[in-house]
């Protein structure tokens, strides 16, 4: 069992203080520019404690997530959670990137498996999976708490990073997912961020189940910017389905010809669904906060915060 490590990041400090935190999400894409990511970061900064920077989500070959994780912090002052998948690099590359991230002032890492290469846009690539996500948490523990790599070779300097893990409360069956979190937390996880949730009862059941691991948990939500996104999400994200009523309500909005009015309608549907959802989580569970995956939908943060906090 790893003893509680210091709170290196603001995110961890706020969580430990007992604040109900919000995290956002930034997604660098197949581009050499960061203007969009920086604009998103600036737009969400007043509302969130930190923002995750995704690492080749859905196995798409996008810009490496370390650079935007650093640039966002430097240019906007918004703290980042550097997401790292173990699909694309072996233990040497993971170690190298953690050392580099540490130098660049990254204070949060989310250690995840990543969708398999065959789901992505370079399907013929070799899926690495030298380590799995639990073993990666173990590597992070060695680097952070023991000052060595996996083999015990000494690292010069300190790695001051808090470690997040992902969980999927939508998993069916749920029991192995819960057991897996119980296996992973003692290896050195500081917080959990969940896959996106739409089912309040399932979310509450999950939160109750993981209470015993004593690891702060942020519930993932995905406000839906448009019907197209909702529909894609429903069809293509493994194990996640948008509730039919919500999908139908979104579909109705799309027929509004006036762009501004349509935006308002979409926002209204989102607020009607997510505001009570978040309020319920905040009031009746021990969740540490909400991870809001409102990629390129930053305008929802202000009303969401106003209605729920």
């Amino acid at each position: 069992m790893v003893s509680k490590r210091p709170a290196y990041s603001n995110l961890m400090k706020e969580i430990r203080k007992g604040k109900f935190v919000l995290t956002g999400e930034l997604e660098p894409e197949k581009t050499t520019g960061l203007e969009e990511v920086l604009a998103s970061a600036r737009a969400m900064k007043p509302y969130v404690t930190a923002a995750n920077v995704t690492d080749n989500p859905l196995a798409m070959a996008y810009m490496n997530s370390l650079v935007p994780s650093y640039v966002v912090q430097k240019e906007t002052g918004l703290e980042t959670v550097y997401q790292m998948v173990i699909r694309d690099r072996n233990r040497l590359a993971l170690t190298s990137d953690i050392l580099a991230a540490s130098y660049l002032g990254i204070r949060n890492v989310l250690a995840i498996s990543g969708d398999h290469t065959v789901l992505g846009d370079n399907k013929g690539g070799l899926p690495v999976y030298d380590l799995d996500s639990a073993q990666f948490v173990y590597l992070l523990h060695k680097l952070i708490d023991e000052g060595t790599d996996l083999e015990g070779n000494e690292v010069h300097g300190e790695v001051g990073i808090n470690v997040g893990i992902a969980a999927n409360p939508n998993a069916d069956p749920l029991e192995p997912e819960i057991l897996k979190i119980g296996r992973k937390v003692p290896l050195g996880a500081d917080f959990v961020q969940t896959q996106t949730m739409f089912d309040i009862d399932l979310t509450k059941e999950f939160l109750k189940e993981v209470e015993k691991f004593n690891c702060p948990t942020l519930v993932g939500v995905f406000p839906l910017k448009s019907f197209g996104i909702a529909d894609f999400f429903d069809k293509f994200i493994p194990g996640v389905h948008v509730p039919k009523d919500l999908l139908r309500a979104m579909e109705k909005c799309k027929d509004e010809p006036d762009k501004e009015k349509r935006k308002d309608l979409y926002d209204k549907v989102n607020m009607e669904f997510f505001a009570p959802f978040i309020r319920e989580i905040r009031k009746t569970t021990k969740a540490a906060g909400i991870h809001v995956m409102a990629v390129l939908y930053e305008r929802i943060f202000e009303p969401l915060l106003r209605e729920t906090m």
Binding site: R87, R91, I112, S113, D115, H116, V118, L119, P127, Y129, D130, L131, D132, S133, A134, Q135, Y138, L139, L150, A166, A167, N168, A171, D172, P173, E175, P176, E177, L179, K180, G182, R183, K184, L187, Q195, P238, G239
Partner: protein, 211 residues
């Protein structure tokens, strides 16, 4: 058993095109069972390739150098005369024939995996020959082979109703299966056990097994 599949005929024709005289070697063991390199398939192949085939034989076990010596000796003249040998066995057999004869060898089959047979034509990939068996810990299901991410501490978030995100949710998630079976056996402590990273350095050194 080593599971093999015959390459598409166009590919075999293309591969054999530069050679005027061919000798075909089949396999009396795994490829016979798989119906990819037995007597029947060797005869069919000879017929398809026509006049350029100057001889055929089925070696009882072409991956065994001793048996190659025994079974190929009677065909020495034809083999010497041939420009190339088309081998209908797994890759191990192809290499043994190459070594024994010193001739150009052409693989007629693709080697798929060490498999379990359900029935002829239904084979399942179950063992990666990793050199460090942990089946005692995983209820007799190999996660290195049956999980496309080869996770030692699964499942990942990609399982839906016990099915794997790889392959359109057709295959069982190995780790959900392991969990089910360990639960049945009242051995969930093994599911909870953290398995540290594998030593691939050791695996990299496995080239020969000599005792």
């Amino acid at each position: 058993m080593i599971i093999t599949r015959q390459k598409p005929m166009e590919e075999i024709e293309e591969m054999t095109k530069p050679f005027r005289k061919l000798f075909i070697v089949g396999c009396g063991t795994c490829s016979t069972s798989c119906q990819t390199g037995g007597e029947e398939q060797v005869a069919e192949m000879a017929e398809k390739l026509g006049d350029k085939v100057i001889g055929t034989t089925v070696v009882e076990e072409p991956c065994d150098r001793r048996i190659d010596r025994r079974d190929l000796k009677p065909h020495k003249e034809a083999i010497n005369e041939a420009d190339a040998i088309l081998v209908m066995s797994c890759g191990s057999g192809v290499q043994a024939v190459a070594e024994f004869t010193g001739k150009v060898v052409l693989p007629a089959l693709d080697t798929l995996f060490i498999g379990q047979t359900e029935r002829i034509g239904r084979y399942h990939d179950t063992c990666r020959a990793c050199g460090e068996c942990i089946l005692d810990e995983t209820a007799g299901i190999c996660p290195l082979t049956r999980c496309p991410k080869a996770l030692l501490n699964g499942p990942c978030g990609g399982q839906v109703k016990g099915k794997c995100e790889v392959g359109e949710y057709e295959f069982d998630c190995a780790w959900v299966k392991i969990w089910e079976r360990l639960k049945e056996q009242d051995r969930l402590d093994l599911f909870m056990t953290f398995r540290p990273p594998r030593d691939y350095g050791k695996k990299s050194l496995i080239r020969d097994h000599i005792f």
